[in-house]
Amino acid sequence: MSGETSTTTPTAEELAGMSREELARLGAKLDGIDLVEYGPRYVPGSPADKNAERSVAKWFVLTGLFGVLTAVAFIWWPQQYQSWTSDTQWVYALYNPILGVTLGLTILFLGLGVVTMARKIMPHEVAVQTRHDGLSQEVDRRTLAAELMDVGDKTGLIKRRGMLKGSLLLAGGGLTVAAAVPVLGGFVKNPWADGAKSELWVTPWAPAANGAKIRLVQIDGTPIRPTDMAAGAMITVFPAVPGGAKASDAAVMLFRLRSNEVVKYRDATHESFRFGDYYAYSKICTHVGCPVSLYEQQTGRILCPCHQSQFDVNDGARPVFGPAARPLPQLPITVDDEGYFIATSDFTEPVGPGFWENKGKYES
């Protein structure tokens, strides 16, 4: 392509008479490369040559050794679990590191061997190749562009063949749809099919069909009495329904504040949601739905670990810091005939992060 080399192609007779080294030099020259220095690194058989060979072989021997060690450790190391009460738990704990170190060293030594070989054994050469500055030459650029356009023109794809182009477009579209359907199909669903009972509007706290109120229980199903909690306590509670502890929108924090704390309410309705000094708020952050459970019982702050939103439990769980924009929904609670906490109704607003249809459901 470039006319920078003046080498002419040798004839068949000339080729037949050339040595291997001459052929190698010729190949480089035909590509525009001039081998200024080219030859073995050390005199073959000299002490330096032998030293170089030994230093490379050393790495490959180590590679083999550590490869075998990896296999030996994998098969025979006593890797059975030993608990923290055992005096020999270090034997078990060393299994993974030993596998990692031996296999890692195997690969490292192989790499070192290859690089050392390239630097100490491979022929010593200094090659010079001339390159043009800046853009390719005008003639090269013109001819390449013309070549490409000419093919398009001669195929008729530039000005004619509307049917072919149209069908190609259809083919591409069809293929895209076929590939996208299995991925996107799972998202196609009407979340509002059940109207006011749609999943996003209700949680497992909603009273049962027969009007029975849902109890607040601990994760092991224990119902909670007011006397179970000390002032300044927080407890994560779940609805006493099957699967209640696993439902993503059901986790609730039940707080017992000190009776001398000053508490503000969002409004009169929310004031009636408490039971004495006991308040229940959704544990799901209104920002993106992380569990907010870092409760500072003296400052009354509830922290979200994901994006540092803070809610003030003494002020209706209003967000006071961070990206969350809405207060945590409050669960209306009271106690039943047996003295256990129950939810008098479902949350009065959707739990967790906002969504488009949520407009107006929040009062503040």
């Binding site: 923290w84 790499g111 994760i219 009495r225 909690m229 019982q297 670990p305």
Partner: protein
């Protein structure tokens, strides 16, 4: 059945007033003693009756320490001093043990949080102070060894249950392996590296600083012991992955992989590219 013939009236009349009084008195006494026994059956036995035994000299020793070191901030009658220290009435021996045995109290200076430091008082002095606090208002008590040092509160069989309870109640602030974490405005949940069994137990009972309280109704003593067991097991377990990088999870691990791993790769590249 044949009706019994009534005894002659004469005999009834023959009883003296004194006899009747004696009989009435005896009936009353028997009834009272009976009620007393019945009452002991109905009343639940008090918890830790032994620990509640009052030792006047110990309380006096505790009061002496209190007057020397605590009175400035907590007041002459443990009622607290505005803007200095809270009331200690009803906090119990558990709160005293946690604060003094971990060296947090006496406080070195007012700040966002009282840090752990070398305790100022010996185990027996802390026990005396605890007895004094307990004698004035009562409150939760933590189990201790006889010499006032930490008891061994373990149940190795319950370690899995303890881990579950720890993840639900503690891990959000103290990290899943007890390495601690940040709270708001300079406060933090401390690492549990140095915490002893009784200290962890006392922290749950008393809710020091911003930690919520976990009374025995919320986490039973057995559940507390299970949690202590988990925390101590997490500290004693060797990391099967080699070095744990602080146990903070993906943040420190990613940081290490990026800085050390990338640095190593770049270094090897430079070495390979260097002229022989």
């Amino acid at each position: 059945m044949k009706r019994l013939t009534l005894p002659p009236r004469v005999r009834v009349r023959a009883r003296s007033k004194g006899q009747r009084r004696l009989r009435g008195l005896l009936t009353l006494m028997i009834a009272l003693v009976g009620f007393g026994f019945l009452f002991t059956l109905v009343t639940p036995a008090p918890h830790q009756a032994e620990a509640g035994a009052v030792d006047e000299t110990q309380i006096a020793a505790g009061a002496a320490i209190y007057v020397n070191s605590c009175i400035t901030c907590h007041g002459s009658n443990l009622q607290g001093v505005t803007d200095r220290g809270p009331s200690l009435i009803g906090v119990g021996q558990a709160a005293n043990y946690f604060q003094v045995a971990t060296g947090r109290m006496p406080l070195a200076d007012q700040g966002a949080q009282a840090p752990r430091k070398e305790p100022l008082y010996s185990a027996s002095e802390i026990a005396a102070l605890g007895a004094y606090i307990q004698a004035n208002g009562g409150g939760p008590q933590v189990p201790l060894a006889a010499d006032g040092t930490s008891a061994t509160l373990r149940d190795n069989a319950a370690v899995a249950k303890g881990a579950e309870l720890y993840r639900l109640n503690c891990a959000s602030c103290h990290n899943f392996t007890g390495k601690g974490g940040a709270l708001s405005q300079g406060k933090y949940a401390p690492a549990l590296d140095q915490a002893t069994d009784s200290e962890i137990y006392a922290a749950m009972l008393s809710g020091p600083e911003n930690m919520p309280k976990f009374s025995d109704g919320q986490l039973t003593p057995d559940e507390k012991v299970a949690i202590v067991t988990y925390v101590q097991s997490a500290k004693a377990s060797l990391d099967p992955g080699g070095y744990g990088l602080g146990g903070f999870g993906p943040v420190s691990e990613g940081f290490f992989a990026f800085i050390v791993g990338m640095g190593l790769i770049v270094g090897v590249m430079l070495w390979m590219g260097a002229r022989a």
